[in-house]
Assembly symmetry: C2
Homo-oligomer: 360 residues x 2
Amino acid sequence: MKLEILPVLGIGHVSEGDDLAALIATAAPWLRDGDVLVVTSKIVSKAEGRLVDVPADGPERQAARDEVLAAETARVVASRGTTRIVQTHHGFVMATAGIDASNVDKTRLVLLPKDPDASARALRTALRERFDRDVAVIVSDTMGRPWRNGLTDVALGVAGMDAIRDHRGEFDPYGNELQVTQMAVVDELAAAGELIKGKIDQVPVAVVRGYLTATSDGGAGASALVRDAAQDLFSLGTAEARAAGLAAAATLPDGPGPTPADPAAIQRAIDAVADVVAPGTVFTLVADDVRAGLVAAVPGWPQEATALVLGSPPTPVDPSDLVRFGADLHRLRIALAVEGIPSVLLPPPSASTASAALAL
Amino acid sequence: MKLEILPVLGIGHVSEGDDLAALIATAAPWLRDGDVLVVTSKIVSKAEGRLVDVPADGPERQAARDEVLAAETARVVASRGTTRIVQTHHGFVMATAGIDASNVDKTRLVLLPKDPDASARALRTALRERFDRDVAVIVSDTMGRPWRNGLTDVALGVAGMDAIRDHRGEFDPYGNELQVTQMAVVDELAAAGELIKGKIDQVPVAVVRGYLTATSDGGAGASALVRDAAQDLFSLGTAEARAAGLAAAATLPDGPGPTPADPAAIQRAIDAVADVVAPGTVFTLVADDVRAGLVAAVPGWPQEATALVLGSPPTPVDPSDLVRFGADLHRLRIALAVEGIPSVLLPPPSASTASAALAL
């Protein structure tokens, strides 16, 4: 048993309206049933007319590129300098939304295919119906990734096979159940195809032979590879997420009222701000009712039944100390939020001399 | 021209101290010079004795696993529930530091090889010197990745070839210089090897034939693929980075003093907190000297020469208003930090009735 990776030579330049199935069938009359075609997305885009005209240079070119990028972007994931990592409308997270200026006239940009799974299905259908070849089709593109230098080719679209090979529920020879073994085989096939495409200039299609025993329809396509941002531990760039945390602290909302809270977590919050609050400020954990509330009060203000923490600014209290004390209370509220503890700044009892109250 | 991916059959179970080069040379007498061996890291680890004993089940097993994970972890990158994405001492970012409990006795865990590049070099050297085969060696493992479901195999170590194929500086047929075309070919070779290893149970070694015309020494190994955390836009999980931003707001340090600042950015910061500060609070941008500073003052406190923003709490001012005003000033300071503008809470002039000052 072995696999072969074969280049499809002689396809040449592809233009809008070209019949990709005919180009491939003509260039590769040796195609066999069960072959996996790995087709560079760029020629799919070109055949489908996914091109936009832009100025060849100057600031107008940059402005036009920015406009195209905005149109292709569902959300910005991370930025640094001129780098933009975005999620496309397909759900792919890619630099510059996969927009490419290479292997095309200087006055045009190539966008990703509108629906790469549909493109793969259309090509598979055309090859089967018009050229009697039952093959799987992968539409591939080159992507970077976090944590590792260098790019690899991955699948944007697939037809004729499942995107994922699932080993969950199988057992190894030692009797251990395989847990996390959903392999993104179409990405591995795209990578394998790139090995031969990258060795030979201008080869946009590779064939992997021997991997499939038979094609199959009905898979979810490469869209099965798109992980929902809500499920992803890295849905935002580090700098962007950090800024979002800062911004959340600036607009920290009031908590929902008394909430169970862990005294150790409250103490961690107090400790976290200990070195930055005004010297002499005291936050005292009242540990006998941790579900109650948090009160930050100046001396003389009676402890409420809801008190969890008593806070006092330095004495003697003068008006400017109270301003600083307010800033320090907000620091403590944020530190509580880091621990997952909501709080609220309450107006003091009307009879008190001066105070503020935070309630969990 | 074509590539072939061949399985090395008959290697069987590998144990500590086994001679991997001999096992492979015996199982694959058909190896040729220039072949690329893709070797599953697990058999390298086993041969090198990178195994630890753990209880077969119960809380003791979990505690032992946690201890092993901590030892293999250089830093935690992201957590959710029981999932731990960590950076290993090698620099790889992987779930559970690549520690594996599959294909091994229930009482043992397999760690990654200590130095996978060195393991690859040693295997390459042994095959060349003792078995007269000049091959490149990739030590591979299975990894997940952000944004895309499913796992793929990538390279942990390599010898006999460069990890990256660099096209930078080349030109495409349209005259465009190729910019971002450093391909992580060893990851693609590892993925290609997995295609055949995954199809056949218990095949830990694959051979990619036809990719290299000749091997070469002196490359930086797969460590060239490790991107420094400081260079990475995703060096921390989103939740972790967001919490770091919150925590930074709680301990916001004093800025270095008067700093040039963009009035529009200051206005954005004021606008960002407009809906959460006490009704009646006014922050006024004094736009005639944007390099000066930020003063937040109660009425009657003279505007300093450094004033950039005048702030006033609602009038009439009573002591509890001052506490709230202090909290609101800290909100504004954080919003300024989001805009990259440092600030400091200054003591007011001694003659003033009550105030606080923020200086950029």
